[in-house]
Amino acid sequence: MSSMGRWSALSLVFGLTLGTVGCGPKAVRGEEVEGLDDQAMSTGLDRRDLQKLLQENMKALQSAPVLKRWEGEQLPAVAVLPLRNETTEHVESALDALISDIETTLVNAGHVRVISMEQQPKLISEIRQQYAGAFDPSQIATWGKQIGARYIVTGKVFTSDERQDGERRVQYFMFIQVLEVETGQILFQHKSAVTKAII
């Protein structure tokens, strides 16, 4: 190699190393960058995951026998309680966002009267404390009676989380349940799943 060529090669090596120092970040809107909302940023739950998890469950609910029951009951009162986080990710706020989505779906379907939990801050606080501590499922019926709901929609999210050399996979399972407050009976239950990974 000529001396000039050697220097050029060495300069390239230094340049490559410097290449690790990238340009600064900039703020963008979702619609400005094609596919921005499609890209997974972490193994947490993003809007697309939540929509997928919810849509599958709500679709199953639309064809479940409990819907026929509601149709025969003249707009029974339903409350949506927070979903329990039993995962390996701190996705509580993402799950809270689902409450309004479930309420919207139920209201628009027109089979039930939805009691908004936003009007019950004290109860919501008590429910969160229960979720944080030793959760007692029989409490759900008590809460339902407290707010005058005949049915409760709630759920929980679990994960199966595994790691290997250079890879991590998190499989989320969301269970949505409809419970009758009076009896505590589960009238509907459905599971949906999404997988997130770093590979």
Partner: protein, 458 residues
């Protein structure tokens, strides 16, 4: 003058030198955090927090830096521990969670440019790869944050994250699957959540590390309510194989149900990594077994020629506060704290395991530098200018070789726990270590629990 005539060629090298210095301009991690550690040693965590905010280029601990990756992830770990010492648990949790994700991404990252940089310049050009004990302590220290806030859901998330990492390490690096404090706290979180089988499983893991007497009473209590049993759990509570577990005592009235107090004292600091220069002969001894015979011969040759006498590499400093004895008083009465883990020993062990490879890497870089210098000399000619350019290049490359001193240096050196079952009511808890103390009034509800923490990083 030859130098003037060769200006067009020299201009390449001027560019190279500028580029090289641009990389080398960053001080090593030790340099970046030295004042932080000094502030902690002086018992001034507020000053340490301010310094860390400056280093992260933010004006308040409420802010996250623009870039949470790279070496900022380690600074966030440091800030999380200072925030824990200042009992700002929510922000400490946030910093630990952000770092946890970033450390994981760094762990998975592979980059050719980084490898070239590490080969020519310095180990700390590449992404930080946290040793196993640091990864496990992220979730452990965050469990402390959540438990102090009474947030069992958050603690359980951290416990599950810890379990994923523990499983990975058990499968790949069983000698470094430090489980004691994390498993102990995970057991506590699941016990208080009413998930007794899970709790016993975690307690069993903690007992694999040490015979913690503070677990005897909880294991006895839970074993009466759960079918989960192992030889270790039975041994701890003195129930031989084949013999039935003790029956649960008659339940107290709901209003009189005893509550539990857990106290956690984290004190001292793990040894920080510091930059050292060691003679080539000693470096070759450290690196024996980790260096190829070819590189070993080349290094020995260069040493014998007097071309290389010193090698830059990181060394472990001294831990802080390991001889201290923390104390715990409940309503004025002195009670015993049980030592749970010596994190400083885990740090020393992890360093001993990797030392040979790190020194070997430093020697390889040194050989590469001499080779680059020789290339410059040949290209520039045999005259004085060539020799000077060669020496200048080597000197520049040597200056940029900052030993990789990155580590989570604000981890406590030691952790000690105590557990007490108490009738419901208000209690005064006093904790002390390293000359610092805290006093808390806690109200224990029937069947409830409280966690009081003292973190002192002096």
């Amino acid at each position: 003058m030859p130098g003037v005539r060769r200006l067009p060629l020299g201009s390449h090298w001027a560019g190279v030198a500028v580029l090289t210095l641009a990389i080398g301009a960053c001080a090593g991690h030790e340099g970046r955090t030295k004042e932080v550690r000094s502030a902690l040693d002086a018992g001034n965590p507020r000053a340490a927090l301010k310094l860390l905010n400056e280093e992260l280029d933010v004006t308040s601990e409420k802010q996250l830096p623009e870039n949470t990756g790279g070496d900022n992830a380690i600074l966030l770990l440091d800030r999380a521990m200072v925030l824990q010492q200042l009992q700002i648990y929510k922000l400490s949790s946030r910093d630990l969670e952000v770092s946890d994700k970033q450390i994981e991404m760094l762990d998975f990252s592979r980059n050719t440019a980084d490898d070239i940089g590490k080969y020519l310049f310095s180990d700390d050009v590449g992404p930080y790869k946290a040793p196993p004990y640091e990864k496990l302590m992220i979730n452990t220290m965050n469990m402390v944050n959540y438990l102090v806030q009474g947030d069992l859901q958050g603690a359980r998330v951290e416990a599950r994250r810890l379990a994923v990492m523990q499983k990975y390490l058990k499968d790949n690096d069983p000698d470094n699957a430090l489980t004691a404090p994390g498993s102990y706290l995970a057991g506590f979180a699941f016990e208080k959540s009413g998930q007794y089988d899970e709790a016993l499983r975690y307690y069993d893991e903690a007992l694999a590390y040490g015979q913690y007497q503070s677990l005897s009473e909880p294991v006895r209590r839970l074993s009466a309510r759960s079918g989960y049993s192992t030889a270790r759990l039975r041994k701890l509570i003195g129930v031989p194989d084949g013999q039935a577990m003790p029956a649960a005592p008659p339940a107290a009235s709901p209003q009189a149900e005893p509550a539990e107090l857990l106290v956690i004292v984290s004190f001292g600091r793990v040894p920080a990594k510091i930059a050292r220069r060691i003679p080539i002969g000693l470096a070759l001894t450290y690196a024996s077994g980790a260096l190829s015979p070819g590189d070993q011969n080349r290094a020995a040759y260069l040493g014998a020629q007097g071309l290389v006498t010193w090698v830059n590499f990181p060394e472990l400093g001294r831990p802080r506060g390991t001889y201290d004895t923390p104390w715990f008083r409940l309503d004025g009465k002195q009670l015993r704290l049980e030592g749970i883990v010596a994190v400083d020993r885990e740090a020393a062990r992890a360093w001993d395991d990797s030392k040979g490879t790190v020194v070997a890497s430093a020697i390889t870089r040194m050989i590469a530098r001499v080779a680059v210098g020789e290339g410059v000399r040949q290209a520039a000619g045999e005259g004085l200018a060539g020799a000077l350019l060669s020496l200048g290049t080597q000197a520049t490359l040597t200056a940029t070789d900052t030993p990789d001193t990155r580590s989570w240096s604000t981890l406590p050196a030691r952790m000690a726990f105590a557990r007490v079952m108490l009738p419901p009511g208000t209690r005064t808890v006093q904790l002390g270590a390293r000359g610092a103390r805290t006093e808390k009034k806690v109200t224990l509800k029937p069947g409830g629990f409280a966690v009081v923490n003292l973190t002192v990083l002096e």
